[in-house]
């Protein structure tokens, strides 16, 4: 399994539909301070089911929806889609390509889609259960967070190893 594409629209500073296509190996994301790099990391954590606003550097879940800028009005919906190559069958599903989508509206409503078919968050978390990908595993290490592996209590570190088990 690997990442093929990430589509972001209305999520944080990505007002317009933005598509990142990924190949294998190392992809570097670069750009000036405040341009939206960490927001891409947040988008991946979010589409994988993140429920805590603080993990997304916000105070409420609504903070992920594009709030407007000098030249643009706020939008009503944030949407992120992750397209994964599943040719190796790592995900327990019949498809060779798997897309997961999350949408969130200002009224707090969330929609999840699996290959464009509406589903529940549970269906997505179960899909990734054995794959070692997910919002809690080491899939996304946020800015400044690498030091946390050293500063958390011993029990939390055990949890990290248990995830891997």
């Amino acid at each position: 399994m690997h990442l093929k594409k990430l589509e972001i629209q209305g999520f944080k500073s990505f007002a317009d539909r933005t598509v990142l296509e990924f190949g294998s190996g190392v992809a570097a994301v670069v750009g000036p301070n405040g341009s939206g790099k960490s927001n891409i990391a947040d988008a991946i954590r979010w589409v994988l089911g993140e429920q805590s606003p603080r993990q997304l550097r916000g105070q409420k879940m609504e903070d992920v929806i594009f709030a407007g800028s000098e030249s643009r009005r706020a939008v009503g919906m944030a949407e992120v889609t992750l397209l994964l190559d599943n040719a190796d069958g790592a995900l327990p599903i019949e498809f060779s390509e798997v897309s997961i989508t999350r949408r969130s509206y200002r009224d707090g409503e969330n929609e999840y889609l699996l290959n464009n078919v509406q589903c529940r968050l549970r269906d997505i978390t179960e899909l990734f259960l054995d794959s070692r990908v997910g919002k809690d595993a080491l899939t996304v290490i946020g800015q400044g967070k690498i030091d946390e592996i050293l500063s958390v209590k011993g029990e939390e570190r055990r949890d990290l190893i248990e995830e891997v088990a």
Partner: protein, 154 residues
């Protein structure tokens, strides 16, 4: 369950012991269960000793030594159970040039099993990547992708 944990712990510990001296060009490190009889309730302590130094608490390590120790643990976890992809946000920020080079070499060697997306301001990391994605806010407040040639990125 306890057995699975013990096996995984032993694997991660073994990798951590092997990776740390390669990243630090010497020294040693270990993972220790604080309560080995109850693995599922036990804490996991990190012991790190950079080359030539006395064994001290993690607190006394420098900023760059702490980052490199955490990176060694991250690679040990990835070695024990490779993850299909991993997003790293400026984990190279506090490394000096020599440690940065060693980190990059490790990243490259792990990139066969794991796809990495790494957010960075370090030129050496950009040069080592297979592909480069530029993010900009030409229209203030609105993020957009741009194609980047290496000479202008940083």
């Amino acid at each position: 369950i306890a057995n699975r944990f013990r096996q995984t712990f032993a694997a991660v510990q073994g990798h951590f012991r092997a990776i740390f001296p390669r990243l630090f060009t010497g020294g040693q490190a270990d993972l220790v269960l604080t309560d080995p009889d109850n693995p599922l309730d036990s804490g996991v302590e990190i012991v790190a000793q950079p080359p030539g130094k006395r064994l001290t608490s993690l607190l006394l390590l420098s900023g760059g030594e702490r980052a490199l120790t955490a990176i060694a643990l991250l690679f040990a976890l990835l070695k024990a159970r490779p993850s299909p992809f991993c997003v790293l946000d400026e984990i190279d920020a506090s490394l000096d040039d020599a440690n940065l080079e060693r980190f990059i070499r490790f990243l490259r060697s792990y990139a066969e099993e794991t796809q990495f997306i790494i957010i960075t301001h370090q030129k050496a990391t950009m040069e080592a990547a297979d592909s480069l994605y530029g993010v900009t806010m030409q229209e203030l407040g609105v993020s957009r992708l741009v194609s980047v040639r290496l000479a202008e990125a940083s």
